[in-house]
Assembly symmetry: C2
Homo-oligomer: 324 residues x 2
């Protein structure tokens, strides 16, 4: 059985398959949507895998469920814990709730109230920290020591990567094959899972990672050949601010075809276009792939391209194209 | 072959089946989405049929495609025409574009620019009229005489009703059966199609129509036993302002279980909840069903309920819960 210390390089496609069997009762097989308008606009055939339609609103339920339901009964008794200001906190709370075990989440006190409410709705317990790495690490160490819960990292965790890998397995089945897949990159969990699946099942499919210019640490890492972490990147694509770690760097450095970046305005424009023509509610992070496709048409024209819509937990009272 | 003068009472389930075969190449088999949160909130099991994911953004492509692709080559040559300020105009333009025939649409000059742009994008030709019945009828008579195009009514047209009927046929297949279906009612095209299909294929399934209080002509017609038309109803659910006509009254008066109404605020609240938890972009009209389910919990608790999300063509710059 995988644990948080399993080396990334030992992950196999069978780990993805075992994850898929394990999590199927708890996740949605999300639909793949198409839009003739967006195809015409990009010159590509786009297949949007809508992970915003997961119950907790993000692909992260896949990794969270794989970690939670892979625990032995003994380990599960003490529950799970993590630190996250976003979708991983919701997703782990959802997964723990489905298994009926405790979930402790350390969140910055500045995290959006809507996200805190959702964690509590799923039965998670929040311990607040200051919005700094020092405070987060100190508070998290205390919570973990006190509860004895199993730490499930938001992305630098082989169980989580194997779970995220199930998304592109479904996408391949639903489309019958693709020339390329584009997914956003933050810490690299989704991209690493995509690499695990595609490098084994569809090695001709190109893998593009899409990143905000204003949080382009993965792009610079990829060019430099080693991890570069930024201190405090600022972008509207708030799910993509975190840096790569060793487990995700393993996949990114070996299997990603290229990393492309987009400006804040390009992200907002792509977000609004997707809401309008695909008619889905999605986070700014999910708009980065369409933004880079529109910006690099030669890389995608005439191709069958999968696009991962990673999540849909948005503050509907504050949309970036409406001046408040 | 059906035409606009075919009496509604002669429509059979085979007309629905023929429509489905005819339109399948041109429509999306839209997904059915679920939400544990909304199930918990209502006490029902809700199955949302997402017609907002049709290419033209509404179920109305079903009826429009059935009418357009049912025409003989000779009749098709002169194209089609209609009057509509909304989704029927887009949908007929889309259908005509797919067949490669002309489409002439009479639209009030006050119709939203976005809808006019979409009609033109699909190849439709717009003739503007004043926003009054007199002007619309005069301008439409002139356009029809000049072009000789086949008139496809937005809803009082057996070809259109047979096309809309395909939606609940898919919903039944996708869910394996339902205790009730709730759809919004304006002119009654969607509800009539729902009645045609369910009365034949699932006669135990209750059919509820959901209507804005501020445009409750169908509700009052249903109670009075004859068609009552309002002059100028005003509601945020702008797709539901039109009155019943004889072909839709045939179905509404015979097969609808009940008509329930909701206030403007209840519609807006249900709309925002659906955007937030189902994470789809949909029109205010589509929120009326959830609003009446929340308002009449006893009618739905413990039941398997289909909800038709009729369309997703919204002005994203003006959302009703954000003060501009």
């Amino acid at each position: 059985m995988l644990d948080i210390n399993t080396p990334a390089e030992t992950l196999t496609i069978d780990d993805m398959r075992a994850a898929h069997e394990r999590i199927k009762p708890y996740i949605n097989r999300t639909p793949v949507l198409r839009s003739q308008y967006l195809d015409d606009l990009t010159g590509a055939q786009l297949f949007f895998k809508c992970e915003n339609f997961q119950e907790a609103g993000a692909f992260k339920v896949r990794g969270a469920c794989n970690a939670v339901f892979g625990l032995s009964d003994e380990a599960a008794e003490k529950g799970v814990c993590t630190h996250s200001s976003g979708n991983h906190a919701l997703s782990l709370s959802y997964a723990a709730g489905r298994r009926g075990i405790p979930c402790n989440v350390v969140m910055p006190r500045t995290a959006p109230q809507a996200k805190k409410d959702a964690v509590r709705r799923y039965g998670g317990t929040i311990t607040e920290c200051e919005p700094s790495t020092t405070s987060r690490e100190a508070v998290f160490a205390e919570v973990q020591a006190r509860t004895g819960g199993e730490f499930v990292h938001p992305y630098n965790d082989p169980r989580v990567i194997a779970g995220q890998a199930t998304c592109s397995a479904e996408l391949l089945e639903q489309t019958g094959g693709l020339d390329a897949v584009v997914a956003p990159i933050g810490g690299g969990g989704m991209i690493s899972g995509t690499c695990l699946t595609l490098s084994n099942l569809a090695s001709d499919t190109a893998i593009y990672a899409a990143e905000p210019e204003q949080a382009d640490d993965a792009y610079r890492s990829f060019k430099a050949g080693h991890i570069i972490a930024d201190d405090a990147p600022d972008t509207i694509a708030d799910g993509l601010k975190v840096p790569l770690k060793e487990n995700t760097w393993h996949f990114v450095s070996r299997y990603v075809t290229d990393i492309q970046t987009a400006s804040e305005q390009e992200i907002i424009d792509a977000m609004k276009i997707t809401w309008k023509y695909l008619r889905i509610v999605m986070e700014p992070s999910c708009a980065v792939p369409l933004a880079v496709i529109l910006k690099n048409p030669d890389a995608y024209r005439g191709k069958r391209v999968g696009v991962v819509i990673t999540g849909g937990n948005v503050d509907l009272d504050k949309l970036p194209w409406i001046k408040g």
